[in-house]
């Protein structure tokens, strides 16, 4: 039986036909790409109601990705935090090591149904690039991944993984040479090769229908977690915590719980060197609404409207915008957004590694750090569920460098 993509949320959390979540979202793209978005929207809304498509997706998620991922009770972490019970949704155990594969499996299947022979993707930390190269290899499609020069330097292992998988990694040297510039370059490729190319966006940003589609493909995380909580703990969690760069793992977890009014939600942004320093990537905590990469959303720009360079120890959070649905969840108060600094994330990285034998991605370490703070303020009979969105193998080199250790 197919688990249809279901919507537990209230209607106000669904966008209008043009993809607007309140004042956010929309389709801010050049005229050449309008048709491509229309075509994608039509295909997505058609196939997600198709039993065969959904059965193939479910089978891929089960047998290729390795779902369902467990909910793990981090008992020693809980003890150290000294408050609420801390549970981890183990997306780090997925094939390729992060939640990103949930989305790429779905979009690649859609590309196949749409008859597109070529896949392009942008990547920051490299996780989405690897996940895209992986599904492209499996379906025998050509794959080009755009990646900023700065990110290529700090994520050498993932670059090599993509190449092993047969993808071409194109270095992007414009602008800040990070994720936002990789996105620009992928858009330029798409506008040029729009007939045969499917652009797999890795997060809940971009123009409609990407924010909805990427959310839906990742919502398997929240649907599973909700069921696991009811089956294994006989209660919903009191709070959900997930890191937010573009925000796909967070929305994937949050969305199926939106209608559960007692479940609090916390999105954790990268506060870098501290929100007061300006060197961070916390667009919801410290940015303002604007238009970037196809949608209206919170972003970090200067007084002239130029997009600013961001900073985070984790490449996957180093992005000056955020998915438009997060902007709407912030304004409506349904979710709260907080910042965790580089140092706090590093501390959580070590704590989880030493206490539980789980090496988290630096992105996910932000969520762990905030969950520990939050748990400390809660009662022992309460529960915090953290989306452990990725594993930290890719970050070992970065951590060693930061701590002055040569490998």
């Amino acid at each position: 039986m197919s688990t249809e993509i279901e919507f537990v949320s209230e209607p106000s959390f669904e966008p209008d036909e043009l993809g607007h979540f309140g004042p956010y979202g929309g389709t801010y793209v050049s005229e050449t790409l309008i048709h491509a978005h229309e075509e994608l929207k039509e295909a997505y809304y058609r196939w997600r109601k198709d039993d065969e498509f959904m059965a193939r997706l479910d089978a891929d998620l089960a047998h290729y990705v390795g779902r369902p991922s467990p909910v793990y009770h981090a008992s020693r972490l809980t003890e150290v935090a000294g408050g609420a019970r801390v549970l981890l949704k183990r997306e780090d155990l997925n094939h390729t090591g992060a939640h990103k594969i949930n989305n790429t499996v779905g979009q690649a299947l859609l590309a196949d149904y749409m008859g597109k022979s070529r896949i392009i993707a942008e990547t920051g930390a490299g996780q989405h690039g690897v996940a895209s190269a992986t599904v492209a290899a499996r379906l025998g499609k050509e794959c080009v991944v755009y990646m900023g020069e700065v990110d290529i330097q700090r994520q050498a292992i993932n670059v090599f993984r993509m190449k092993l998988l047969g993808a071409e990694v194109r270095a992007v040297s414009s602008g800040s040479k990070t994720l936002k510039d990789a996105l620009n370059e992928a858009m330029r490729d798409w506008v040029t090769n729009v007939d045969d190319t499917f652009y797999i966006i890795g997060t809940v940003a971009g123009a409609h229908p990407y924010p909805v589609m990427v959310r839906d493909f990742n919502a398997v995380v929240g649907r599973e977690a909700r069921r696991q909580m009811l089956d294994e703990y006989d209660a919903l969690p009191d709070a959900l915590v997930a890191c937010v760069g573009g925000g796909s793992n967070a929305l994937g977890l949050f969305h199926p719980f939106l209608g559960d009014r007692d479940v609090k939600m916390y999105g954790v942004e990268a506060a870098g060197h501290g929100l007061h320093t300006g060197e961070h990537a916390a667009s919801l905590c410290a940015g303002r609404p604007g238009v970037l990469h196809g949608c209206r959303t919170y972003l970090m720009d200067d007084d002239a409207g130029q997009i600013q360079h961001t900073h985070s120890v984790s490449a996957g959070l180093d992005y000056p915008g955020v998915g438009p649905e997060h902007a709407w969840l912030k304004d409506t108060g349904r979710a709260q957004y907080v910042g965790i600094t580089d140092d706090e994330a590093m501390q959580a990285f070590h704590q989880l590694t030493r206490l539980e034998g789980i090496l988290p991605a630096l992105e996910s370490s932000h969520a762990v750090a905030y969950a520990m703070k939050l748990a400390a303020e809660m009662r022992p009979d309460q529960t915090v569920l953290v989306n452990l969105s990725g594993r930290g193998d890719k970050d070992v080199q970065t951590v060693a460098e930061l701590e002055g250790i040569s490998l």
Binding site: L18, G26, T27, Y28, V29, S30, E31, T32, L33, I34, H35, A36, S174, G175, K180, D181, L183, N184, M187, R188, V191, T192, N193, V194, D195, P289, G290, V291, L292, H293, G294, L299, D301, D303, A304, G305, Q306, I307
Partner: protein, 270 residues
């Protein structure tokens, strides 16, 4: 309200000439040179000027305009600077239409109402925001209408006929037809591919039709002038200006580049 763009296209139509529309990035190579370059372009035969508002993330532009934007931003050029440039240009040229071209976020930050008021008083006639299709322009559109500024709309090879007529009903001034699927400055223009969409577009739309993307010099400009009401040239011109040692040299290069194009276009219509 009459707009300089309408007046210019109407007089060109009377003369059976196609409009020559150069695009330069405001503030590139040097912010202090832009006004003088604009005057040189007009002297060399430009009918409408498109002035690029530099943006940090120009996702629809090729390397030439990206680099021009980065140079301008590095010298502190903002939307506010650009409006100052137009205001200064207007002191000596009350007639040549000026269209600002760019991306939406600088206008978002400036504020729709403030922008429309200041742009109008500076002498801006139209705006073309690459990342803002008509369906997302509703609010800004109201402010522009109040101040007589035209939203210039794009039509692309991928635009469906139904959409063409919807765009045509909302567009003002002229329609900008993007000649191929790709980014600015790419080398993909094929004149033969233009004939069908241009005639299709004419069936949907009474506005003048300008064609841009990939037009590099006299030959391609003349060919396009045979089909369309206007020819836009951007990247090839910006490449000429880059590396100029003085403002005077930049002005000379601008007019040396444009004059033969003007001549070729006018000859093609004889």
């Amino acid at each position: 309200m009459s707009n300089r763009i309408d007046r210019r296209f109407s007089s060109l139509a009377d003369q059976q000439r196609a409009a020559l529309i150069p695009f330069i990035t405001a503030g590139d190579p040097e912010p202090g040179w832009t006004v003088a370059i604009m005057h040189s372009l007009v002297k060399a035969g430009a009918d409408v000027l498109e002035l690029g508002v530099p943006f940090s993330d120009p996702a629809a532009d090729g390397p030439v305009i990206q680099a021009a934007s980065e140079r301008a931003i590095a010298q502190g050029v903002s939307l506010c600077t650009v409006l100052g440039i137009v205001r200064e240009f207007r002191e000596q040229d009350p007639d040549t239409p000026v269209v600002l071209m760019g991306y939406l976020n600088p206008i978002e930050r400036y504020g729709h109402a403030d922008f429309a008021r200041d742009a109008s008083s500076a002498g801006v006639d139209g705006i073309l925001m690459v990342d803002c299709p008509p369906e997302e322009m509703v609010h800004l559109r109201g402010e522009l209408d109040d101040h007589g500024i035209y939203p210039i709309c794009l039509v692309a090879p991928t635009t469906t006929p139904e959409r063409m007529s919807s765009i045509a009903s909302q567009a003002r001034g002229y329609i900008y037809y993007v000649s191929f699927k790709g980014i600015t400055g790419a080398n993909r223009l094929e004149q033969a591919n233009l004939e069908k969409p241009v005639s299709e577009l004419r069936a949907h739309c009474d506005l003048p039709l300008a064609v841009g993307f990939g037009i590099k010099g006299p030959e391609s400009a003349a060919a396009v002038a045979g089909l369309a009401d206007g020819v836009v040239i951007g990247s090839a011109l910006i490449e000429q200006l880059a590396g100029s040692a003085t403002g005077q040299q930049a002005c000379d290069r601008a007019s040396d580049f444009l004059a033969p194009i003007r001549e070729a276009m006018d000859n093609s219509r004889l």
